[in-house]
């Protein structure tokens, strides 16, 4: 079954590197990935916070949050 996932990022170098190296290698048959740039989609910052995101970039799959390296604190965005 294909699961929904959300990749929250801030457009930073660390975010772009992780998106190119890790997110691009995810299996599209397993995950349906929504890419969200919180620097632009600022109305979704609260959504990310509620889902448990502390730092960016992060991949959220169901209730699981995977913080990947460190690009920025979510709290620095708003």
């Amino acid at each position: 079954m294909k699961r929904k996932a959300t990749w929250y990022h801030a457009g930073c170098d660390v975010c772009v590197s992780a998106e190119n190296g890790l997110v691009a290698a995810l299996d599209p048959q397993k995950l349906d990935i929504d890419l969200v740039d919180l620097g632009r989609a600022r109305t979704r910052i609260d959504e990310a916070r509620r889902r448990g995101v502390k730092t960016l970039p992060a991949l959220v799959v169901g209730d699981d949050v995977f913080h990947v390296n460190f690009g920025a604190n979510l709290s620095d965005l708003g």
Copy 2:
């Protein structure tokens, strides 16, 4: 082209969760993943350090190191 990747972990809860939720969702057509439990394969701790791993679990793809959440410091293993 299929790339080689190495998943370094320490068998910890955070490691297992990330392996099940993230590594299991990687595309086997894009990455050929070597799973390495550094708690057992202690001779590979130096290899992980040389490749830039600081904390576990971490996925290394080429020169890129993706630290996922925080399970343990590599320096705590040896």
